[in-house]
């Protein structure tokens, strides 16, 4: 750890977080006020009320961290608050156009719900390792969440994708929460079984391929992804789940062969999808021939993508300024396409700055994974980081024609309660992991805290000495791929 006190203990760094949080709130609320100044006659007290609510929520989160997870990463919360605030500002700005109304208030309400839920999770969970006990429950919940929308009477088909359920007039995308539960399942399953997967296998040239039966979970993940794709027409989530699993399994095994297998599965899936799923084929056609007039004109055609590109181009380097563009031309401007609205009004520079924020946020998630001492925590942090980065890549890549466009939303920016809630819960979990990574070790440093037997006394779940603990002086076991003195694991090599 770089920031250690003279006595060897890391600093909590909560004061840095508070300062950054003030900057974050200034940016988010400032953007809203700018929108108001540009599009309304006067800034009435509603702005101060709503700004005050955001300040209150952010400070509450900050205090919760001070009390319950004071060594948590100090950059995560300010970045998320910035993005969330900018999102509300842009949604608020789009409410001034004739197409949208009152969405910003709903987004603010969902922000409040999500932040309160995240604080509650943080306080109640205390330690992310408790989630490991939920490995198989998570799998069951994931399947339930993913397939809820196709239950007759509950599901709702919006924009060709069946990902919504309606209960009592409220629409909700349960698949968003499945991002978390699947992340928990993958992390838990691989933390439990990685030895088995690593040990057995056939060596072909430089690559070691796993046994067929060990491919089971990967195949399951692939099935889930394909099921999501075919049953729900949801290309984006399918891509994300699959990418998530490939990344997590690679981190668990450190074997490039798994990536090769993963890529092969993606390729097969892509070919199958192209052959048999009209929706997927359509997305490919749109991607490759976006400017073709016929594809532009057809129903579910490239109109949205092309208009999005026009919006980005109109923004240019510096943008039109908040409130001065015409982002409402693009369909779903405040949700799936909100990136375009930012690109148009804040320009390449503004949008790039926001992408850099995403990149830093992602890096902090990964840093939590690097720093924490338990495998489950590492895999969970990496998985959740991949959820973030894949969402951003699928959305922005789809809009800029790097990959085919599919319906995912930009984390924290886009209008939509379910995604907001899921992403805030992820924040809470990652904060706990980062807290576990940086907090001072309770027991002496002479214990292997990360190896196979890493369930040492600092594990609050067990809190008892076990025979599995080995002194670090012992030679690393031959089958340990990242062998070496485990003491250094926390620092990262």
């Amino acid at each position: 750890m770089k920031s250690k006190n003279p006595d060897g203990h890391p600093k909590p760094r909560r004061t840095i977080e508070l300062l950054l949080l003030l900057i974050a709130l200034t940016i988010g609320i400032g953007a809203q006020v700018l929108v108001g100044l540009n599009l309304e006659d006067e800034i009435d007290q509603r702005y101060w009320l709503e700004g005050g609510l955001q300040v209150g929520l952010a400070l509450a989160f900050h205090i919760a961290l001070r009390l319950k997870a004071k060594y948590a990463d100090p950059f995560i919360l300010p970045i998320v608050v910035t993005l969330n605030g900018l999102g509300i500002a842009m949604i608020h700005r789009l409410d001034f156009t004739s197409r949208y109304d009152g969405v910003a208030d709903r987004q603010l309400m969902w922000t409040a719900i999500s932040m309160v839920a995240a604080i509650a999770l943080l306080v109640l969970l205390k330690d992310h390792r408790k989630l490991r006990q939920l490995t198989y429950i998570s799998l069951a919940v994931s399947v339930l969440l993913l397939f809820l929308p196709i239950v007759p009477g509950l599901g709702q088909d919006i924009q060709g994708a069946q990902v919504w359920i309606t209960i009592g007039g409220m629409s909700f995308q349960p698949g968003e929460l499945a991002k978390i539960t699947l992340g928990i399942f993958f992390a838990g399953f691989l933390a439990n079984n990685r030895d088995l997967i690593l040990l057995a296998g056939r060596k072909v040239g430089p690559l070691t391929f796993p046994r067929l039966q060990d491919l089971g979970p990967l195949f399951l993940a692939w099935l889930i992804a394909m099921g999501v794709l075919i049953v729900q027409n949801d290309l984006g989530n399918a891509l994300m789940f699959f990418g998530l699993f490939v990344a997590v399994i690679y981190v668990a095994t450190s074997r490039i062969s798994w990536v090769a297998i993963g890529v092969a599965f993606v390729a097969v899936g892509a070919v199958l999808a192209y052959q048999f799923v009209w929706h997927a084929r359509n997305r490919f056609d749109i991607w490759l021939n976006a400017f073709d007039q016929e594809i532009y004109d057809q129903l579910y055609g490239s109109h949205q993508l092309v208009q999005g590109l026009f919006g980005l181009a109109h923004g240019g380097l510096t943008g039109t300024g908040l409130g001065s563009g015409s982002p409402q031309i693009v369909a779903l401007a405040n949700s799936d396409m909100i990136i375009v609205a930012f690109g148009e009004e804040l320009g390449f520079l503004g949008l790039s700055a926001m992408l850099v924020l995403y990149l830093i946020l992602f890096s902090r998630y990964m840093r939590a994974g690097l720093g924490t001492r338990d495998h489950f925590g590492k895999l969970l942090a990496v998985g959740l980081a991949m959820v973030l980065v894949l969402q951003v890549f699928v959305v922005v890549g789809g809009i800029t024609r790097v990959i085919p466009m599919s319906g995912l939303v930009s984390p924290f920016l886009a209008a939509g309660g379910s995604a907001l809630l899921a992403n805030w819960l992820i924040v809470a979990i990652v904060l706990l992991i980062s807290h576990a990574a940086r907090r001072p070790i309770v027991v002496g440093p002479m214990l292997n805290t990360t190896g196979e037997g890493a369930s040492g006394t600092e594990d609050p779940l067990r809190g008892r000495p076990t025979g599995e603990q080995r002194p670090v002086t012992e030679a690393p076991s031959a089958h340990h791929p990242s062998g070496g003195p485990a003491l250094k694991e926390g620092e990262g090599r």
């Binding site: 004739s98 690679y250 109109h314 015409s326 992408l355 990964m366 951003v392 890549g397 800029t400 790097v402």
Partner: protein
């Protein structure tokens, strides 16, 4: 395990870099290409919603752009007294994608939208300071009081036009046509509203929202065209104001079974032979037809083209050319000489003809625009009075002037006689060839005859034979007495 995490991080950063690259391509490198795509409505919306310069009369705006919050367009075009000025301004519709072509909005679109060459530096400055480009302000020559008077004079159920112009410099002081309409109804931002309003206006008989009757609709001039025939006669040297001419009640036309009659209702039947002055004042047909056949088609064509027939122009609104065709037979020429057959004239053309005579034979180019000023009030365009053509010698103009005075003092134009000054005029009643027969009823002239200042033309289309002169003569008088100082 941590190495694998680092590798994953590196791969993800590569993904991000590809996003930055793609974004810079879309937003910077290919931005211009994307911006100029036909399907990109952003530039259009920006242009259509941009503030346009005002159109003013006597310094107060009749068309201006006001900020709009209710639609994607930034500004709403608003017309004041729209019924008075609809045909002059035209309308600006974001739905239609620009201004209507017939009015000032269309004719001076470059200035009004701020895109003319002379506003180039304004645009550069606006680009640098981030301000909106302000369009130029167009001040019309029209006198709002005269325009309102003309509007009040024309009955709502008639298709009438009144034009008042200054014979000395060509400035149009009033140009009013009915039916008129509310231009605001077509300036709406909502497509469906625009559609509904347009359909309703289209159904209104006699209303044309896309052209101005006064300058864009050539119709039969009837006997008012005798200003041209008479000039051709005088210029030939064979005729004089007191040359005696045969005046048969009807004329058998050569190589034709048609006959050309004098109107039975008038005074023409009183005399079988009369001097040109009297014939002109009573508007007898047969002597003019005979003279035209004697002079030949070329002489008449030359006279008509000297007045401006067969030539379109911009003042700056587009003025349709009035038509005097190549006549193939004497019969056709005979009818052409009295403003029938295929001869047509716009109300403005007849006004210009009277104005040329009033101005001693020198025709000034009609002007609708006083000044065009940039947003900083600097003058961008200031049309100077311009001689359009030397139509005739002053002597001939004086003869015609004298003949037109007789029209008012002892002839068909008696209703326009003023106690304040001498009025010179020529009436016309053209058959429209409809069944039942309706007429174009004209009067065009100027005053004071001894020192002409203003030319006034009043015309009613599709009107009853007797109702026409009841309106035209008195209304011309009213306009003249209003415009000419005591």
């Amino acid at each position: 395990m941590n190495n694998a995490i680092r590798h994953t991080w590196v791969v993800s950063v590569v993904l991000f870099i590809s996003l930055f690259a793609a974004l810079s391509l879309v937003q910077v490198v290919f931005a211009d290409d994307l911006g100029s795509d036909d399907r990109n409505s952003r530039q259009f919306i920006a242009d259509a919603g941009a503030p346009r310069g005002p159109i003013t009369v006597a310094g107060s705006p009749i068309a201006e752009s006001v900020p709009s919050d209710s639609s994607q367009y930034d500004y709403q075009r608003v017309y004041h007294d729209p019924e008075l000025y609809s045909h002059l301004t035209g309308y600006f519709s974001v739905v239609q994608g620009g201004p209507s072509q017939s009015g000032i909005e269309g004719a001076l679109n470059d200035y009004i939208s701020g895109h003319s060459d002379s506003q180039f530096f304004d645009r550069i400055t606006a680009l640098l300071t981030g301000d909106t480009v302000m369009g130029a302000q167009v001040e019309l020559t029209v006198d709002p009081e005269l325009q309102r008077l003309a509007y009040d004079l024309i009955p709502d159920d008639q298709r009438g036009t009144i034009i008042v112009s200054d014979v000395r410099n060509g400035e149009v002081k009033a140009m009013m046509s009915k039916p008129s309409y509310d231009t605001n109804e077509l300036a709406v931002h909502s497509g469906t509203e625009y559609q509904e309003n347009m359909e309703r206006l289209d159904e209104q008989p006699g209303l044309h929202v896309n052209y101005n009757v006064a300058v864009n609709r050539p119709i039969f001039p009837g006997s008012a065209f005798k200003l041209v025939t008479a000039m051709a006669m005088l210029e030939s040297g064979d005729y004089d104001t007191d040359t005696d001419l045969d005046n048969p009640p009807r004329l058998d036309l050569p190589q034709s079974d048609r006959t050309l009659p004098n109107f039975a209702a008038g005074n023409c039947a009183q005399r079988n032979e009369a001097e040109l002055n009297w014939i002109f004042a009573q508007s007898c047909n047969t002597p003019f037809a005979e003279a035209a056949m004697e002079l030949g088609g070329d002489a008449l064509l030359e006279a008509a083209e000297a007045y401006g027939w067969n030539e379109a122009m911009r003042i700056p609104v587009y003025v349709q050319s009035s038509r005097f065709p190549d006549v193939s037979s004497d019969a056709e020429l005979a009818y052409a000489s009295i403003g029938q057959a295929s001869v047509t004239a716009t109300p403005l053309q007849m006004n210009m003809a009277a104005a040329a005579i009033g101005n001693g034979g020198t025709m000034m180019k009609p002007q609708l625009v006083e000044t065009v000023r940039g947003s900083d009030l600097q003058i961008l365009s200031n049309p100077e009075p311009e001689v359009l053509n030397e139509v005739m010698d002053e002597a001939i103009a004086d003869d015609l002037n004298e003949m037109m005075v007789s029209v008012v003092e002892e002839g068909t134009g008696w209703r326009a006689d003023s106690s304040r000054f001498q009025v010179a005029a020529k009436t016309g009643t053209a058959e429209r060839g409809t069944s039942p027969e309706t007429y174009n009823s004209w009067i065009t002239g100027f005053a004071p005859a001894e020192n002409p200042q203003y030319a006034v033309t009043v015309v009613y289309e599709e009107i009853d034979f007797n109702a026409g002169p009841e309106l035209t003569g008195p209304q011309m008088l009213t306009m003249l007495e209003a415009v000419i100082d005591e």
